[in-house]
Symmetry: C2
Subunit: 411 residues, 2 copies
């Protein structure tokens, strides 16, 4: 598979944007033409999931229907419209010795993706890799095995119709988990590993892969309410960050409140969120939150917990420095915000907080490829190499240096 | 050490360019002020090296003297003059919802560097990391232990004089190799590992590190002489690529000659290089090279060997496609060149050859940070993530997304 992928990647790397877009258009069309087969395969997965006791909420995430499939096909057509970053020449300059030197964007080569749950990820990743001239080797979760197989079959058939190698998108069918470990060692053929799933999957890839891994997702999201903040408008931002979609990795985990406004603000917070949110309060915040319907004192580890639920940690801090110190001690790395009307505090916060995305007077929920105008999102990176935060098409590319001269040797 | 480095990195990340430059200037001054102590420590290393039987060539690489130390101090002062990439804001734009979004260059954090031999690497890396606001943890070779300790002492003393944390540059003193393995697992504190040494060191880091590693150096360098090439001028380029510094990773390993010009060109090549170079010839090239003083038939693996010496592999190919195919099969990844007068072949070569640097009518020896105008070189990457080819200051940075708005919540 590695060899076939590398060979396919070579062909994809020299394909024109028009060829790649034609393949994507065919994929979109074939997804709709093969709707019945895809939905039948998905129905098998849903049935098996129900028998093995998956929750209705999870089953709904796995479900494909006519509408969702049309949405997926429409997403593929949107990718056709995005600019192809491959071939862009950057930083072109003429050196003193006369050489014309530039950096040219090129595909990474072969991307390995290990993911869980939703079948649309199969199409998402395959299509974004194709657009950027990368071959992909996919390994989805067992819950959507039949759906994924049906989708990959459609992709490969479409690739052949478009005159591109079917091996541009391959799927590891064998359920043996040892094959994932093998994939992680194929550094001769695979250029990047993207894990899309929980912290356990990321850790496993980080510890076992000899291929560069994009680590992402995990991080405690904080919001600091400065003494100068507009408290009333802050409530809207906090409510959005906590309540809109608590299961998202950019949802708010910990609220840090400046002591000067805590007595005034915390009761307002209770009033706004008490019907939905469970408060986990540091000793400093307990008194202010006493009116809450659901409230408990924070214990060891609570401020290191990514809640992914309607729970909100709350702590009162003496000043912005203490807020920053708390964040550094408690895994700030994904998305963090300050609510303030002071310019100096805004700058201090932006400078000192070492997270993929830092906001002034905005919700942490904005960390998202679509929101950032990237057109598509492959993953959200919380590491610092290669890409940080939402990764779009450009982050699926590398570059090569191109030097052109007139028989230039070094003296 | 990891913790101390991370704490130092936090302070460095908020230091101004002026503060960092002041520290660098003090380092340069103190290197000269402490010349006697540094040279005495180096003399110890040289003496021990001589006793343990190191070659005179290697001893010369390890040697520091007044002139070389002045050169190192001068290099440090040059780094003061380079632009600080930290703080640059990129891709600033206003989103439809009113948010001002940009990417801001930030330090990586903590960089671990494992290197061999020359003591100037200690200063090089420490200084480039400081300039970009990164803390570093260094581990040099045992051959220069005393020199490195003396240099690091000077750096730490200078950092204190400049009001920056001494732990910004730390050195693993304990010679136990297990400590290197420990360093490679400190993903909680260290953000990037740069190995500078042979293929064995790179492989060890790749296999054992849970921290992103910059893999570099290894790669077979090829040059393809197209039928349309100006043969006479090609000889100059080939001679430079092979002879100027054969031990360099960008020195030429394999020459591929178009069959249409082989009969004419190979004897000229013999005439030009035969007094210096040993030819290792594919069956296709043997006849043309018969005049050579040192010539042998290629065996299995010869075309996968990075010579790092005055040996040159030679093969005759039918056309450009076969040249590209040979390169793909034999580890082209670092620096490769085509010599041609045909524009279409130049473009075909640039597109198809998947190496860090691709040249048209120029020597492979140009792959170098100074030649590329980067001002400094941390390493040469042959991987595709984060950075490829010569890495300068910018490649020692990451970015964070910065979003500014007016109490913006998502609808």
């Amino acid at each position: 598979m590695g060899k076939a992928a590398k060979e396919a990647a070579f062909q994809l790397s020299t394909a024109t944007t028009a060829q790649k877009n034609r393949a994507l258009t065919i994929i979109a069309d074939e997804l709709e033409a093969n709707r019945d087969a895809i939905l039948a395969a998905n129905a098998q997965d849903i049935e098996q999931g129900r028998q093995s006791g998956l929750s209705e909420a999870l089953l709904d995430r796995l479900l494909l229907n006519t509408e969702r499939l049309a949405g997926i096909a429409s997403d593929v057509r949107n990718v056709v419209g995005l600019q192809d970053p491959v071939g862009q020449e950057m930083d072109r300059r003429i050196l003193e010795n006369g050489m014309s030197l530039s950096r040219r964007r090129v595909p990474l080569g072969v991307v390995g993706v290990i993911y869980e749950a939703r079948p649309n990820v199969t199409i998402d990743i395959a299509v974004l890799c194709l657009k950027t001239g990368n071959a992909s080797i996919l390994r989805g979760g067992k819950e959507t095995f039949n759906s994924n197989m049906a989708l990959v079959k459609v992709i490969q058939l479409s690739l052949e119709k478009a005159g591109l190698p079917a091996a541009s998108v391959q799927y590891i069918e064998n359920p043996d988990r040892a094959l994932v470990s093998e994939l992680l060692k194929l550094d001769q053929y695979v250029d990047m590993i993207i894990p899309r799933g929980g912290a356990g999957l990321h850790k496993m890839c980080q510890e076992n892969s000899t291929i560069p891994v994009i680590i992402g997702g995990f991080g405690i999201s904080h919001m600091f309410i400065d003494a100068s903040a507009d408290l009333n408008r802050s409530l809207d931002v906090i409510e959005n960050a906590k309540v809109q979609r608590p299961s998202a990795c950019n949802a708010l985990d910990t609220l840090l409140v400046h002591q000067q406004v805590a007595a005034e603000f915390l009761p307002q917070l209770v009033q706004r969120l008490s019907d939905k949110v469970t408060f986990v309060a540091d000793a400093s915040a307990l008194a202010g939150l006493t009116g809450a319907a659901s409230l408990r004192a924070a214990q060891d580890g609570d401020f290191d917990t990514e809640w992914l639920s309607y729970t909100l940690g709350v702590k009162v801090v003496e000043n912005i420095e203490q807020a920053i110190q708390h964040m550094r001690a408690h895994h700030a790395s994904h998305s963090d915000a300050i609510l303030t009307n002071r310019l100096d505090h805004a700058e201090q916060f932006i400078n000192a907080v070492d997270s993929a995305a830092v906001y002034v007077n905005a919700s942490t929920r904005f960390t998202d490829g679509a929101q950032f105008g990237l057109g598509a999102e492959v993953a959200v990176s919380t590491q610092k190499l290669h890409a940080r935060g939402p990764m779009g098409l450009e982050e699926l590319t590398s570059y090569k240096w191109v030097g052109r001269a007139d028989y230039l040797s070094r003296s």
